[in-house]
């Protein structure tokens, strides 16, 4: 897993490479060896949904691929049962 993102090669994006954020190095779920991300665990889930109730991308939150998928599923389920909002001002 890459620690720091390299500037991407220009690919029709306007040519100029941008420096992306360095993502924090570790996945908290991996660190805890969490077996399972529970959609009912609103406290934890809220850490990953900032303003406007969006889901944080991996490059910001630092979660690993597998846990990001599980996290997304959990957040979406939580939204369905009104434990988390779909959108917020």
């Amino acid at each position: 897993m890459r620690g720091m993102s390299r500037p991407k090669a220009a690919r029709g994006r306007g040519g100029r490479p941008r420096f992306l954020f360095r993502r924090r190095k570790y996945c908290k779920f991996c660190e805890q060896k969490a077996e399972w991300i529970d959609y009912k665990d609103v406290k934890t889930l809220q850490n990953y949904t900032p303003e406007r109730a969006k889901i944080l991308p991996r490059r910001i939150s630092g979660t690993c691929a597998r846990h990001q998928r599980e996290l997304m599923q959990a957040i979406k389920r939580a939204r369905m049962v009104a434990l988390l909002p779909f959108a917020e001002d």
Binding site: E35, W36, D38, Y39, K40, D41, V42, K43, T44, Q46, R77, R79, M80, V81, A82, L83, L84, P85, F86
Partner: protein, 157 residues
């Protein structure tokens, strides 16, 4: 036999009796279908993240059970038809999740029993069980400014 978890929401406007009847009726669907409960708990009233059917709060009930596939299907069917249910969600748990969920339920129950025992003996309560479990006690009824991650639970066990 697979493990399923069903969560459903009832309006806060139901009387205790109505609510209890409804929950028992749904629980019966499970047991009659040959399912075995691991958990049947009322998580309590909670502020909804968005209004459902014009309600701002709802009462959450959770079933965790093992059964064959017909049971959740029938249960879901009834939940959808019921006019006392605002929303429901049924999930099938992966084996590792199922095990984890059941163990957590056992721990929660033990912690609640422990808390009750300590309260009886007049000892200070030990800290709430760590990590993913929600806090044990609520802070009163429909508190609008509350920390939205709190459950109000009537199970002080």
């Amino acid at each position: 036999m697979k493990t399923y978890e069903t969560l459903f929401i009832t309006p806060p406007t139901l009387s205790e009796d109505e609510e209890r009847e409804a929950v028992e009726a749904f629980a019966a669907v499970v047991t009659q279908g040959g399912g075995s409960f691991a958990v049947n708990e009322r998580l309590g009233r909670r502020r909804l993240a968005y209004p459902i059917a014009k309600h701002a709060d709802g009462v959450y009930v959770r079933f965790l059970y093992d059964s064959v596939a017909d049971v959740p299907k029938e249960l879901e069917r009834r939940l959808r038809l019921s006019d006392r249910i605002l929303r429901s969600l049924t999930v099938r748990l992966e084996p590792n999740q199922a095990v984890a969920a059941k163990e957590q339920a056992v721990r929660d129950a033990a912690a609640r029993a422990e808390a009750a025992r300590r309260a009886q003996e007049g000892l200070p309560a030990v800290d709430a069980p760590p990590a993913p479990a929600r806090p044990e006690r609520g802070r009163g009824d429909g508190d609008a400014e509350d920390d939205s991650a709190d459950w109000e639970s009537d199970r002080d066990g």
